[in-house]
Symmetry: C2
Subunit: 200 residues, 2 copies
């Protein structure tokens, strides 16, 4: 029923529709809530959207979110420059950081390969990754991708491109997630966990 | 893991968290998508949020969304001023309009009664509704509320307050929704549809 709304409201709904997983109904619901927010909160929200990209541009080197225009990884002398963790999004950097187990560098490729969605290997600047490996004298590459078809495709592609460089290349382990019951685990995961079973 | 993010990003996530049905995870997902939007789109989105309340304030009389600062209902001489449809939100006005069956006026009470959520009858300005009825010489009140406990409570409250005014008061009919199979209809709805069965 969007066509009945005032033009401004339709514009707001159109913006909200672009958020991941948000359909017309949800966007309408968000919009009608937003226009009832306290005025100062709505203005603050609008301000931050307008300015956030300028305040936190991606790092020129690794693509991570910068803070105060300085990449917290590339500029940290404590990080191990021999390790390079390749991830698909800036958010995944935070997920890996949260483990507290990794102290190397990152490289954000922005998206996984997905030929069906028109995301082909030409969109991953492999030359930039290779130059970085050469410059940093990287010894180990960790591929931290989703365990999906797109993640698998991207991991295989990068392994193919990088394996001649005499590096150790690894990928996140597959298996049953912590805290789960076997009865709820899908067959593919269980098969993988069984195949990759570990000495205990 | 929100505490690990840069301050600007946390602020953005906090705003998104306030949208209905959006938890921390979804807010984070929205935020990481937003910061990758094309700059001009993000700025346009921010601009519209900043300005929308000023451009579409609620009508002083009925609470509907105005367009170009003019209420499309209160100022339309074609609308039947003897009918007043009371709804709980500006969005519901559009839902009723969409039926093309109603040509009277509206009154938006902003929220349904919900004692558990601290929304009591004091927050519905009943005197304003009574004055409006007197001024417009309203003959018929239509209560267009959700068929929930809150909708029922609000309808009962308004009927109690308004029934001495010698008006016709009706509420939206209950029954089985169009296009549904009986096997999927809950018992309460079916009982109501049976009780209110109509000559055919």
């Amino acid at each position: 029923m969007a066509h009945k709304y005032p033009a401004e409201l339709n514009t707001l709904i159109a913006h909200l529709r672009k958020l991941p997983g948000v359909g017309t109904r949800t966007a309408e619901r968000f919009a009608f809530e937003l226009i009832r927010w306290p005025r100062d909160q709505l203005i603050a929200f609008g301000e931050i959207l307008r300015g956030i990209q300028e305040k936190m541009p991606p790092c020129d080197t690794c693509g991570s979110l910068t803070q105060l225009r300085t990449c917290p990884f590339c500029h940290d002398p404590e990080r191990n420059k021999r390790q390079l963790c390749i991830v698909a999004s800036q958010r995944d950097v935070f997920a890996v950081e949260e483990t507290l187990l990794y102290k190397g560098l990152y490289h954000v490729i922005e998206h996984l390969l997905s030929p069906l969605d028109g995301r082909s290997s030409e969109q991953i600047s492999i030359e930039r990754i290779k130059k970085r490996i050469e410059k940093e004298k990287t010894e180990e590459i960790i591929l931290a991708f989703d365990s999906t078809l797109e993640g698998d495709t991207t991991a295989l592609y990068l392994r193919g491109e990088l394996q001649s460089l005499n590096l150790s290349i690894s990928r996140l382990a597959f298996g049953i997630p912590i805290g789960s019951s076997l009865e709820y685990i899908d067959g593919g995961t269980l098969a993988r966990a069984l195949r990759d079973r570990q000495t205990f």
